[in-house]
Symmetry: C2
Amino acid sequence: MSAVDVPVALLGYGTVGSAVDRLLAENAEDIERATGHRLRVVHALVRDPEKERPHRPPAGVLTTDFAAIREDPSVALVAEVMGGIEPTGGYVLDLLRAGKPVVSANKQLIAREGAELFRTASEAGVQLRFEASVCAAIPVIKILREALVATNVHRVLGIVNGTTNFILTKMEEGAEYFEALAEAKRLGYAEADPTEDVNGADAAAKMAILATIAFGSRVTLADVAYDGIEAVTGAHVAAAREMEMVVRLIGAATLVDGKLDVRVGPALVDRHHPLAAVEGAMNAVMLQGDAIREITLEGPGAGGMETASAVVADMVSVIGTTGTGFLQNDACWRELPRLPPEEARSPYYVRIDVDDRAGVLAHVALRLAEQDVSIARLIQHQANGEAALHIVTHEASTGHLQAALGAIAGLPETRGAPSALPVVSDRGVPGLGWA
Amino acid sequence: MSAVDVPVALLGYGTVGSAVDRLLAENAEDIERATGHRLRVVHALVRDPEKERPHRPPAGVLTTDFAAIREDPSVALVAEVMGGIEPTGGYVLDLLRAGKPVVSANKQLIAREGAELFRTASEAGVQLRFEASVCAAIPVIKILREALVATNVHRVLGIVNGTTNFILTKMEEGAEYFEALAEAKRLGYAEADPTEDVNGADAAAKMAILATIAFGSRVTLADVAYDGIEAVTGAHVAAAREMEMVVRLIGAATLVDGKLDVRVGPALVDRHHPLAAVEGAMNAVMLQGDAIREITLEGPGAGGMETASAVVADMVSVIGTTGTGFLQNDACWRELPRLPPEEARSPYYVRIDVDDRAGVLAHVALRLAEQDVSIARLIQHQANGEAALHIVTHEASTGHLQAALGAIAGLPETRGAPSALPVVSDRGVPGLGWA
């Protein structure tokens, strides 16, 4: 790694790939100052080199021949910006086995095939970096792996899907869910098929990656309990506002007594909590650890240029650490058990519709108390012989809360099924807040 | 750098130094997994090795002999956690010249002697890292130098002093300035002599470091125009609230057409802006750049353990990049001119007390219009023949605003001197907001 000129290759030359090429060229001097090296794209794997492209690399760079990239001894590292699982995963494994460091922007690939990819990289003694796979330009992976190496991170809380955060912010401003979703599509914040965004699957894949890196134990999509925002209504948003909170789709990865709990779902966030301030299509991640209390990172979680910026930063970091043994370990070095879901603890917001009669509140409070669920705040709205109870509990186990709600559902005064959402209100205090 | 065992030394073994030693020991396995190396403190320079200490290193580690550290060929890097300018600066220069990488937590030293320190490090071909010198555990320096290497950062906005942010947050809750300051002292958020916090000097030193790194041009304390919070009153806080804003002590470093503008002062921050959500003794830094739009980092800006965590992260990063040429450049590679203060542009909040008579507003509006200052919002409060005009302007140059206020002060209807504070309301849009 003594040559100033460092040939690199790209898998893919679409929006992100061509932006990577452009950033490398436009910032070549900055990169050379920082690293002593000049990164130059010599190959870019594409399906059709003849296709019209807004940005064309020099002749000979575009290629359909993967083996030529793998076998080119001059290529010092490869950035995978083609997306997809197949044939991408096979390419990345091949490159790692051939001793080439890889930078990937591929959330699905890292979330699904991470175990094999990291093991292969570690065995080959080369780096696999993947900053752009989670929250685009927000450097959360770098911070977890490098800046927080000496702090036990015990919780990662995140707003890691911009589409749903945009929709929830619009609902706060008065829009209905479907209006907000339509606007998100119109502005390009939501795909034509937004299913994976609104059902929480996209956020779950990102939380699986974050939890894996934060806790050093493999977390796959199957380990993440997730729920989306389809059931969030104006009533939730209004109730949240009345209690000085906002509704957000929160990913939470928590280490509880050596057990892992990773989940995604709508939650009520206290308006003084840093995540309550995250508006529109922005993403944010809060890292809570022993030595640092908490660090919150906010930024755009998507975008071609933002993603490319993270890819380039990873490329520069690989070049800056090659040959030192840095971050060539498999990020997973232990296997932690999962926390049984009913043992997860959190304060909760509960809504119970009841007949407006004397004694109902006492019955409800008793059922909660029988399960050790204590009431922190209560608001009661009465109209037309009905009452809506809005309750915020102190921290309770999910199992106890569910048992209490079951008992309350069985009361003769209760109308319909009680509903509950976790509450995020703490600021880095371990053992409190949404677990 | 092939040995697993890496001897390191500390200058200083107080709160931060002993916490660094503890974090290195407690996280030795994590660090070895990440770097392949085990960092072990073999010397710690102190004035009095016999002093009672809560945490004592093994016998022989504490020493009063600086030369023994400099001359020990086994010492791979030194962390400076003793503070002060003399003799600290001389020690750091000596170590760099002796070829030893240095990690420093010393804000005053980096802000005042940075030019010589960086030049010396660059000439010796060793790294000088200083994450802990700004905002403790928030990894803003790492992000600027590594994650954002391929994005032109054109603005850094920060709340970089926890004491003043705590006081301003308390004033929002209704406390008077002196009550809030007394509480900050009681809770340990303010020193016995809080002068450098409340007058803005501490924030200015941090902004000088951040601007230097962000823009690659030397910025010293003398280049930073700063103002503190001593003149902030309950009236400012109330006016801010009425306009859905909060008062914060904001540091702003901006690149305007190749010219630098770095300043610290109280400002009104729109409540939807990420910095408005920063409460209590927390710090936050927003980085705005071409490829990333904006990234905001929030966390504790002080604390022994938080500072130690940043020092250890720097030590690990030095070990992880030794021999690669990474970040061995002087961060300053150009010399940018300063923006003349009157050319700085920002929206402003202006308060003008006037006689409550017909035509006054027209006179005021005319004086503003004559200087190209346009009114975005206006609130007028009338009582007892007086009127208070609260105006938020669109972006205007500071020179034009001052000229308009001078003209308004000369109106016969104006009572007392008009006052103005900049407004922070944009979200990463270049050319808008407090410049």
